[in-house]
């Protein structure tokens, strides 16, 4: 029942492929099927999934994946790229009207989180943009909705404009703008009642408010847990009101949030903010790329793959493998490897990107001390060329010299020599093991 990330889903298919020299069209088909299921499980609308899969298939059947050494990872990369592209870039700007006040209208279904988001947005405008917003309570239908906004206004010490539940929402909005002008508020945020997108009467009311107050922004507030219906909701609100952006709420939950992708795909309007908690300062700029990873259920392993790809030269990696096999791995190679790993970023960050690494006991306590690494580097650099090629040359006086040169101690030099020896033994075992199944999913140069 638990959701599987795309990576897990692809595991079995990848296993089948490993060992084969080439990836067949059938393999790609199987992989795209897994991609499809993963996306559907994440609540991405099936039509959106269909289009995506078509594009992914085209790219996958092309050279990109089939000729790659790591087809599984390549598929994930292609999927991620397509998702990220569809999600668009980051955009958390809020319009500023030529003539104050700037009017923002909040719309959406019941229970999406409009009123809370109204409060959060006002807070953000004041804190980050140094603005003075006026909140407007236009939800005259839901019991105590006005009271809710008033309470939020109190918590924020911000004025709330309301005219009770008997007034017409269109009048309330119009009068609020006048009031904002009088009192020199530079933003007006209008909280409207939640309504179903198929409720014509209430949708007309929104259009009327829009015609009267001419808002600079109309934000659709959407619950990130919404399922397949997100498409219909976003489409009708957009058709009738021409939205300017979307706010995704309740993203601090454990939903995969495929709705985000669906909404972006059908409206092509930017998702600007994300609600990340119940407190009034928990409204954040929306990060499309992180959302793409979340939808795929794969943590940040993608960033790790990307880092590995940009920093590890495929040719070098192959040479290394050859050296491992022939046992001609030297301290020079070791140094090179360390350089590549270091290029990928801080070790702790790398570890954090590996899914499940935080749960592995041994790794959790492992000392990932960058300083130790630089000690190792210094020791190797204090060796002569010959010593690096052939550690068996080492004797007491050489060790003393190296320790002195690197600012370490003889015992540290000894430890490194021992570790290097053990590493070579391990490599031998690994290469023997690998003889059976060539080309493992992904090769880390330092393994």
């Amino acid at each position: 029942m638990a959701f599987e990330g795309l990576a897990d889903r692809l595991q079995s298919t990848i296993k089948k492929i490993t060992g084969k020299g080439k990836v067949s069209e059938q393999d790609v088909k199987e992989m795209t099927r897994e991609v499809r299921l993963a996306l559907l499980e994440a609540d991405v609308n099936f039509k959106v999934v269909k289009d995506l899969i078509k594009r992914i298939k085209e790219r996958a059947i092309g050279q990109e994946v089939m000729e790659s050494l790591t087809p599984g990872q390549q598929v994930i990369k292609v999927v991620k790229e397509e998702l990220t592209e569809l999600m668009g870039g980051e955009n958390s700007k809020i319009a500023v009207a030529d003539r104050a006040p700037t009017v923002v209208m909040m719309v959406g279904l019941q229970g999406a989180g409009k009123t809370t988001t109204t409060g959060k947005l006002a807070n953000l405008l004041r804190k980050k943009h140094n603005r003075s917003p006026l909140l407007v309570a236009c939800d005259v239908y839901r019991p105590a909705a006005i009271k809710q906004l008033e309470t939020l206004g109190e918590q924020l010490t911000m004025p709330v404009f309301s005219m009770g539940t008997e007034a017409n929402p269109v009048d309330i909005a119009t009068k609020a703008i006048e009031k904002a002008r009088e009192e020199h508020h530079d933003y007006v945020i209008i909280d409207t009642a939640g309504r179903l997108h198929v409720d014509n009467e209430l949708m007309d009311e929104l259009q009327e408010i829009k015609a009267n107050v001419k808002p600079d922004e109309i934000f659709l507030v959407v619950d990130s847990m919404t399922g397949q219906d997100a498409v219909n909701v976003a489409e009708s609100f957009n058709e009738q009101l021409d939205l300017s952006g979307v706010v995704l709420t309740k993203l601090d939950g454990d939903t995969r949030g495929g709705a985000a992708l669906s909404i972006k795909a059908v409206t092509d309007k930017p998702i600007k903010f994300a609600g990340m908690g119940e407190k009034l300062d928990q409204l954040e700029a929306f990060h499309p790329e992180r959302m793409a990873s979340r939808i795929l259920g794969m943590g940040d392993v993608l960033s790790l793959i990307e880092k590995a790809q940009t920093n590890v030269d495929e040719k070098q990696a192959k040479e290394l493998e050859e050296k491992m096999r022939t046992m001609s791995f030297t301290f020079d190679d070791f140094l090179e490897q360390m350089g590549q790993v270091k290029n990928m970023g801080p070790l702790d960050d790398l570890m954090a990107m590996i899914p499940g690494a935080s749960k592995m006991k041994g790794l959790k306590n492992a000392q990932l001390d960058e300083k130790q690494l630089s000690h190792v580097e210094a020791i190797i650099q204090s060796m002569t060329k010959k010593e690096r090629q052939d550690p068996s040359l080492m004797n007491a006086s050489r060790k003393k010299r190296i320790a002195k040169g690197s600012g370490t101690s003889v015992s540290q030099v000894n430890r490194l020599l021992k570790q290097f020896d053990e590493m070579k033994k391990m490599m031998k075992q690994m290469t023997n093991m690998q003889k059976g199944k060539k080309g493992k999913g992904m090769k880390f140069p330092f393994m």
């Binding site: 269909k50 009123t115 239908y141 019991p143 105590a144 997108h197 619950d223 847990m225 454990d254 995969r256």
Partner: protein, 331 residues
């Protein structure tokens, strides 16, 4: 007699069937139009039952939020059935599809309509839980109204002390339904409010106490622990209580609804679901998966914003609502 006729007759024998069916048909009009419309369209377009047909059928079901796993299982079963009965024409598969879907709804005990399990002699306690914005307070208002109209003395406890305006919202519903609301100030301990509610309900000799709680996302461990505590207080103060723990579920929710049902069950042992906002285009198909995987029945559905728009869940009517077009066509 074909399956459809049997199904229809069975439904029509229900008490108040006419009235209930009209409500469901009206309320679920949007859901139905898209869902069975799509199936009909699908059958019209594909004359032959083949892989492409099944793929599209998958999509139709998925579009109703039925859930990937459930859909895959269902389609697998359908394929077997098609083989077994040697069905080639899509027209003939229609009945099989409905039959299988209905099977999931009904499970093994197909005739049972599960209402609320309340204590007839003593105070019954209903605990209402769910994520933010699902419609807990509104559903409580509607439920209070319904129970009161059945001649029960109802008391509400305003256990959502967190969200701004939540207490006031419940008070308005209390007024509308004409029932008492027990409350403390905003920010007070919800368990204490519920405790007060129980004392007050006992003193007033009430039949039913409905406890509102603050909406919470199921992955917030602290908040879920708070909910367990509320439940423990109820257990301690009233024997056999809570008689019902209702999870309020927004029909527009996708696959996350399964997580919700599972986690809320772990914390409070959910006994039934109130499926809200079914009057939109959302179909709430995820209740199929929830019923199948966790065996939690749906007890009520919210079909509109009016106080009497909460209907006791009637599996027959629900399926009838989804398939009404198809059923009428076969007449």
């Amino acid at each position: 007699m074909g399956f459809m006729d049997k199904f229809k007759n069975r439904f029509k024998q229900d008490e108040n069937a006419e009235e209930v069916s009209t409500k469901y048909k009206e309320g679920m009009k949007k859901s139905r139009q898209t869902f069975s419309g799509k199936i009909n369209d699908l059958i019209a377009r594909y004359r032959k039952v083949d892989e492409d047909f099944f793929e599209e059928l998958e999509e139709v079901l998925i579009s109703a939020d039925v859930g990937v796993t459930t859909v895959m299982d269902l389609v697998e079963e359908l394929k077997m059935e098609v083989k077994r009965q040697n069905i080639k024409d899509t027209k003939d598969i229609k009945e099989v599809i409905s039959e299988k879907l209905v099977e999931i709804y009904y499970g093994d005990d197909d005739e049972k309509i599960e209402g609320l399990k309340l204590d007839k002699e003593d105070l019954s306690v209903i605990l209402v839980v769910g994520v933010n914005g699902a419609g807990k307070t509104t559903s409580i208002g509607k439920l209070a109204n319904q129970l009161k109209s059945q001649g029960k003395k109802v008391v509400l406890a305003a256990g959502d002390t967190f969200r701004a305006g939540a207490i006031e919202q419940l008070e308005v519903w209390g007024e509308r339904a004409g029932v008492d609301v027990i409350k403390q100030g905003a920010g007070s301990d919800p368990a204490a409010v519920i405790f007060d509610g129980i004392k007050s309900a006992k003193a007033k000799n009430a039949d039913v106490l409905i406890c509102d709680t603050a909406g919470r996302l199921q992955n917030k461990v602290n908040l879920m622990n708070e909910l367990s505590k509320v439940k423990r207080v109820i257990e301690r103060e009233v024997p056999n209580a809570p008689h019902e723990v209702l999870l309020v579920l927004d029909a527009t929710t996708g696959q996350n609804a399964l997580n919700q049902a599972k986690t809320f069950s772990e914390a409070t042992n959910v006994s039934g679901i109130v499926l809200t906002k079914l009057d939109g285009t959302a179909k709430g198909g995820i209740v199929l998966a929830i019923r199948k995987e966790l065996n939690i029945p749906v007890k009520y559905v919210g079909l509109g914003e009016k106080i009497d728009d909460l209907q006791e869940f009637n599996a027959h009517a629900f399926v009838y609502g989804l398939f009404a077009d198809m059923l009428e066509e076969t007449e």
